[in-house]
Symmetry: C2
Subunit: 674 residues, 2 copies
């Protein structure tokens, strides 16, 4: 067999494995996997640089799969690379298998991202490309010369997020990003042309991409495209490869099963399966085999890689010798450990908004954490990420010396790109926008939570006190909503997101410290637009590390415990004097994180919120936001927002809606008297 | 003054009013409003067709504002049209004002959509354009000859959703959609070119739009573009108008304040304000004035409109005479009343999945409700909206005789377009996708809830029983998340979204009936992928109309009440026999809608879930999903999912995760014994 024949044989091998694992699982997506086999084979057997002996090597090329339902293609190709066994892929979609239906982050095996919800994977790839350029600007090109590959399908091109990725990768000139668009004209419900009739090449060219159009099943064309893409100096590359859904598939009657919607999301089915495997040169009785010539192809590539990697690693060693300080820094950055931060440098102004307090923290982080990137979706001067920006400058095409990522108005893209930066490794990413727009980001929050990527969400304008901008900009249900992610555990048993809503400027500093120390999960900071009175003198803010704690000045043996997070804590405080004047003993509890509080000892929890003491909660969110802490029943009452907010100055809203010390007094009195 | 001078004077008048109302409110966005004044003036004084005596006339042109922060421009232009008073606009952003910071739906005054979150407004416009074509296909062009105008800014072009709108408006050939892009090169945090360097015209042309590039401040060019757009027969039109942020603004020192980021989101400020108003020909001491020539311009237009509308309405009357049945149908469609549906025609198969049960309902709706449009985001054969599709066909460019909207993979766009269809009036829109992807749709759910648009969300694959597709496709927190919208009230005091998760096929029919009867708020239906055993014989499914009810076969004076929604009800049932064998008296409560249940009388609620009886809940969501019904404390226990799901066949997951009758028995026994 000549070279091309071997390559096609390898692609057929991938098709056989992919179709067979789906058939065995009685569930899955064979058609797309079979169509993409040619490209993935060329990429994996000839282009991807990685170290089989050191699969987490920082210099490895990264491959981000966007359409997670094409996992059979990825698992098959990784099997040819020796990263899955033939036994393992036969467990596709089974309990405990390393081959779940959609790929789940597993860098050692070559899975750089969890995927499934279409579109997010290629945004993560773009983020990884940003991270590489950011690190190259700091460490030099010896250490950062790898390529970020992304693989997308029609779904990603249709998904809204492709607009954000297309725009930003173009603006930033991410020439280290090579994206293959597996264009097979078929999707789940219809042929693509029912829902997409566009000149995709022209669309991406309009966004400053290098676009190459090829036959995506043709080895020579794939090679040529990848070679050209690797040479591109200015722009990200999109290779549009026309492929064939279900390539090589036959129906039970022996006719072609190619280009058929039915092969998208279900096993080929008995007769069709047998005919297809035979047609591809496999044995339906024993399909889980790697052909000898294919074994040799990948063994030869492994040998090649030894030489390539040895050379690269020798250069890295030489660089490290010349740059010991940088090397130490790089190692620390890639360790994923929390950076050392001297929080005593943060100067907080009494009474400031917690968004401003966050800006004070960000200013120090910009100074002290050189591998941190902060982003904003066109709100830096409102979400106060400009505290960070003022210490640096924005990332620009050709100049990644800055550390601020201006994402424009595209919250979901920003989130997924920041997640991709951290998946790349070596950087810490934070991002800001208005809290109400966390709604746009939820799909990214969820996948970051599933993967355990410790990005930092900075969500400001946390309640109706947004004021004049009105109900579309005023979060109500969002705090309860995002705290659901504190109740949802990841597969390590950790709260999948850590959520803080600090009560004043100084508590913000402690929450930011915890955010930076959290290297396991995403952290969300929910921050006020308006200034907040400082908690009583003597408050021990370090207590915030327990998630909820007794605020200074609280009475012993309280008649009632007042519970809140964020600015409502100081609203509660403003009602205490009147209550005490009536002889009522009051404890105030600040609860920046219910989830963290529930991780404390039962004794501590009972000490702060004893079961038998009456509890009154106040929240600018829905009442249920606090029900987990305050309880439900006759000994519990939560005063919260029941409806959307309103457009008016926030002090007017405080009065109209009852967020005043006077109303705290009235509500608590009524509660105690009932 | 010649014509152009008057037009420019009118635009200056809009600028003066816009800047002045922001100045008076001490809050708002003057810059964009001032830049867009020229276009809006031409549109409102020369093109928009509406009936001042009948502002909700079905034949009116519709104007959808996307950037809600440009409300001062809209309010000013509507003031020139006589739809706001000069007094009212002075109350911009104040409590109770008809001029909230971002416009809120108010058709009588010319506000066709609530706006604020960028991008959604133009998606609604595209949906309205679909609705018009759908109705034109049924009623003819006499009744449906109006134009849908959309107004977007840089934010909408950047937002991810522009990809979905661009694609779908192009595919569907929405030539009745004319979109003006106010391109002023400035956004909140930066100049646009920091985050957007694209050939927007080429991008939209690649998506089959008619693109016209003009100077957006030039009256003649605006007219020419609108004339050309009105003539377009095949494609939606995008008019890209280069405009000047803060047009006509001067700083305190008298120098130009144009093209300055600072005019985006804050009042101009004392000196700048005074200089600007003077420069524009206004009186800073008395700025809230309509110039005489401008009054005349709009008065003349009102006269013109009388003639235009009279002619159109005469044609409508003639048409109605010739088509009395159609006219009656049209009136019913536009009444917004719930359609009459004979639900007895729905045949449910025992044991079917509730998604299949939904398909049975949808099939009847397709037959019985001729003004209903059903959509799917490329999942029609999985979310079973194909029950509807099989009775009709998809909407296509040039052929809107079908009633199925194939949205492709773009959940948010689908949602906002469906909302826009209903804002247009005359149609009922439903849409399907996987429940986990409700995350993508949350921003649209929220704005539909705020506006009270009764779209129907069909969310299938409701829990970990998605099975093999794994955690990215398995909802956990989503039910609790979306039920927050049941707890959040709209400004009429209604639960802002009605959420149903029916327990079996027959309960699905009742829930679908309630969904169709709900003309006040969006309704969500959360449906199972897997088959569900029918509830016990004799169950009175009409009881589901109370939100939660006692399932047939329950014991009197129960020792424990088992509570669930969806398929967990039958899982609870499967544990009952063993419990009863132990002499335990058991009541089972199916709770498809907690929100609806809480709207029942206190007596009914206490009768179904008496406070003093122990309650055990089972949910495939987070335990907190049921805490509102089951309670928190020693008499309450909820068995639910604590973590993300897993990839495995769902029956394996049922066993592994404890969703079996056996485990119901064990859990309840342990609960009762503790």
């Amino acid at each position: 067999m000549n070279d091309i024949q071997v390559m096609n044989h390898a692609a057929d091998n991938i098709r056989i494995l992919a179709a067979s694992m789906v058939e065995k699982a009685k569930s899955g997506h064979p058609g797309g996997a079979m169509g993409g086999a040619d490209f993935i084979n060329v990429l994996f057997s000839e282009y991807m640089v990685w170290d089989p002996t050191d699969p987490t090597w920082t210099g490895r090329d990264r491959f981000f799969l966007d359409p997670g339902h094409m996992s059979p293609m990825l698992y098959s190709a990784l099997t040819l690379q020796g990263r899955f066994t033939l036994d393992e892929i036969q467990e596709l979609r089974q309990w405990g298998s390393p081959c779940p239906g959609h790929p789940e982050l597993d860098v050692v095996r070559g899975i750089e991202n969890s995927s499934g919800p279409l579109g997010q994977g290629h945004a993560m790839a773009a983020g990884a490309a940003v991270a590489e350029k950011f690190l190259e600007a700091r460490l030099g090109s010896t250490m950062m010369q790898h390529t970020i590959y992304a693989y997308i399908s029609d779904g990603a091109v249709q998904e809204e997020i492709s607009q954000g990725v297309g725009r930003l990768a173009g603006v930033l000139g991410l020439n280290n990003l090579i994206m293959f668009y597996d264009s097979n004209d078929i999707q789940l419900s219809t042929e693509c042309n029912e829902v997409m009739q566009e000149d995709t090449a022209a669309k991406y060219r309009a966004m400053n991409w290098n676009v190459i159009e090829i036959n995506g099943s043709d080895v020579a064309q794939i090679r040529k495209a990848l070679d050209a893409a690797k040479q591109e100096q200015e722009r990200p590359t999109l290779i549009i490869g026309k492929t064939v859904m279900g390539k090589g598939a036959l129906k039970a009657d022996g006719s072609s099963y190619e280009h058929n919607v039915k092969t998208h999301g279900a096993p080929l089915g008995d007769g069709a399966y047998v005919n297809t495997i035979k047609h591809l040169g496999g044995n339906p009785e024993n399909p889980f085999v790697i052909f000898d010539d294919v074994k040799k192809l990948y063994a030869d590539r492994a040998e090649e890689l030894k030489a390539i990697v040895a050379k690269r690693k020798a250069a890295e060693v030489a660089w490290a010798k010349e740059n010991p300080a940088l090397k130490a820094q790089m190692d620390e950055w890639f360790s994923g450990k929390a950076p050392k931060v001297d929080w005593s440098k943060v100067e907080q102004k009494e009474g400031s908004a917690t968004r401003a307090a966050s800006a004070a923290c960000l200013a120090e982080l910009a100074k002290q954490v050189p591998n941190m990137i902060c982003a904003s979706a066109d709100l830096s001067n409102s979400d106060k990420t400009d505290g960070f920006l003022k210490q640096t400058h924005a990332l620009k095409k050709g100049d990644f010396s800055g550390a601020f990522f201006q994402a424009g108005v595209a919250e979901l893209t920003m989130a997924d790109m920041c997640i991709g930066m951290m998946l790349h490794g070596g950087v810490i990413a934070a991002m800001g926008t208005f809290f109400v727009f966390s709604d746009y980001m939820k799909p990214a929050v969820r996948i970051a939570a599933l993967m355990g990527v410790p990005v930092k969400f900075i969500w400001t304008h946390d309640a109706f006190r947004v004021g004049e901008d009105g109900p579309t900009h005023e979060p109500v249900e969002q705090e309860a909503q995002i705290r659901l992610m504190e109740k949802l555990q990841n597969h390590k048993g950790q709260d999948s997101v850590r959520v803080f809503r600090p009560a004043d400027a100084d508590e913000t500093t402690v929450c930011w410290a915890m955010a930076m120390e959290n290297t396991d999960t995403p952290t969300a900071l929910i921050l006020s637009r308006q200034g907040i009175a400082k908690l009583p003198a003597g408050n021990n803010y370090e207590e915030a590390r327990k998630g909820a704690y007794i605020v200074a000045g609280s009475d012993e043996n309280p008649d009632v415990i007042l519970v809140a997070s964020g600015s409502e804590v100081s609203t509660l405080e403003s009602g205490c004097e009147a209550l005490r004047r009536d002889g009522i003993k009051v404890r105030v509890v600040s609860a920046p994180s219910e989830g963290l509080f529930r991780r404390q000892s039962a004794e501590y929890q009972e000490a702060v919120l004893p079961y038998n003491v009456k509890k009154f909660g106040m929240t600018a969110g829905l009442p249920c936001t606090l029900e987990g802490l305050v309880g439900i029943g006759p000994n519990s009452k939560v005063f919260g927002m029941k409806s959307f907010g309103f457009s008016a100055p926030y002090k007017v809203l405080d009065e109209k809606l009852g967020y005043t010390g006077e109303n705290v007094y009235n509500q608590v009195k009524e509660f105690l008297n009932r």
